[in-house]
C-alpha cells in the first residue's frame, strides 16, 4: 500500500496533486526497477529500459513517459 495514495484516499480525494504524482512515480520506479523516475525518463529516451520487466509499461503510463517500444 503506497502511503502517497493512501493519504489522498483517506482525505477523500480522487486525484493526486502534481507533487504527489511525481513522488508516487518515483516510489514505483524505485520499488520495481531500482531507479529514480528521473533515471527512468532518461533510460526510456535512450531505449535502455529492462524490456522484460512487466512494471515498465505501467510506470511509463503513470509518468507520461513515451517508450520506444512496449
Amino acid at each position: 500500500m503506497s502511503p502517497t495514495l493512501s493519504k489522498a484516499v483517506t482525505e477523500g480525494r480522487d486525484e493526486l496533486t502534481p507533487e504527489e504524482a511525481e513522488r508516487f512515480a518515483d516510489e514505483q520506479a524505485q520499488q520495481y526497477l531500482g531507479m529514480s523516475i528521473e533515471e527512468f525518463r532518461k533510460r526510456a529516451a535512450a531505449d535502455d529500459l529492462p524490456e522484460e520487466n512487466p512494471m515498465a509499461v505501467h510506470i511509463a503510463l503513470l509518468a507520461g513517459v513515451e517508450l520506444q517500444a512496449c
Binding site: S2, V9, E15, P54, M55, V57, H58, A63, G64, C70
Partner: protein, 201 residues
C-alpha cells in the same frame, strides 16, 4: 447506439463531473473482484492523466493460488457534443492490464497493452519474462481494444478468480455495455444476442 437507454446517460458539464462518472463505472467494475480498492487520478506533466488503483496491484483470490492485477489507464478530457449541449467527457489514450502470479507480477501471465509506443496497435503479451516460454513474451499479439471489464470477466470465467459480489456478472455486463456504447472506437467483446442471425457480419 442500438442499446441506448435514457437512464444510461449521466450528463457531465465539467472535467470533474466527467472524471467522477469515469471512476464510478471503473469502480463498480473493480468491485466485482475486490471490495477494498478504488481508482484515483494521477496528473502527468503533459497535462494528461493516469488512472491507477489503490492498491496499485490488486490481489485476486483463487482456490488454486492468487493472481495479481495491475491496471493503468491514460486519459484526457475533451468536448462531447453528441447530445446537443456541450458536455465534457473522458477520452482514454492508452492502457495496460497486467496479470501475474505474484505481487511483483512475475511470472507474468498476460499483459494487454495499448500505448504510444511501437507497436501502437492494441496487443497482448503472453508469459513475458517467463523462462519456460522463451521468446513468446516478446510477441505483440494483436487484440483490438480490450476493456477493463473484458479482463475482469475473463479472469473470473477462465481463471476461477473469486467474485467479490453475487451480482458480479450483471455489474460487469452493465459497465461493459455502457463503455462499449459510448466508446469512440473499439467496442470490445460483443455478445451475440439471443435469436440473432448468425450470417450477419
Amino acid at each position: 447506439m442500438s442499446n441506448y437507454r435514457p437512464a444510461d446517460r449521466v450528463p457531465t458539464r465539467t472535467d470533474a463531473d466527467a472524471k467522477r462518472r469515469f471512476f464510478n463505472f471503473l469502480g463498480r467494475s473493480l468491485s466485482a473482484v475486490c471490495k477494498n480498492a478504488v481508482w484515483i487520478a494521477s496528473p502527468r506533466t503533459d497535462g494528461t492523466f493516469a488512472a491507477i488503483t489503490n492498491p496499485p496491484i490488486i490481489r485476486l483470490r483463487r482456490d488454486e493460488g492468487n493472481l495479481y492485477l495491475r491496471s493503468t489507464l491514460e486519459f484526457t478530457y475533451a468536448d462531447d457534443d453528441r447530445f446537443g449541449a456541450l458536455e465534457r467527457k473522458v477520452v482514454t489514450l492508452g492502457y495496460a492490464h497486467t496479470v501475474g502470479e505474484s505481487d511483483s507480477l512475475k511470472p507474468q501471465l498476460y499483459s494487454w497493452e495499448w500505448a504510444a509506443a511501437e507497436p501502437t496497435y492494441p496487443h497482448v503479451h503472453l508469459r513475458r519474462s517467463d523462462p519456460a516460454f522463451e521468446g513468446l513474451g516478446k510477441l505483440h499479439i494483436p487484440t483490438g481494444r480490450v476493456f477493463y471489464e473484458d479482463v475482469l470477466r475473463f479472469l473470473v470465467d477462465e481463471h476461477r478468480v473469486q467474485p467479490a459480489r453475487d451480482d458480479w456478472r450483471d455489474v460487469l455486463d452493465d459497465s461493459h455495455r455502457r463503455v462499449a456504447m459510448f466508446a469512440s472506437w473499439g467496442a470490445g467483446l460483443r455478445r451475440r444476442a439471443a435469436g440473432s442471425d448468425e450470417s450477419s457480419p
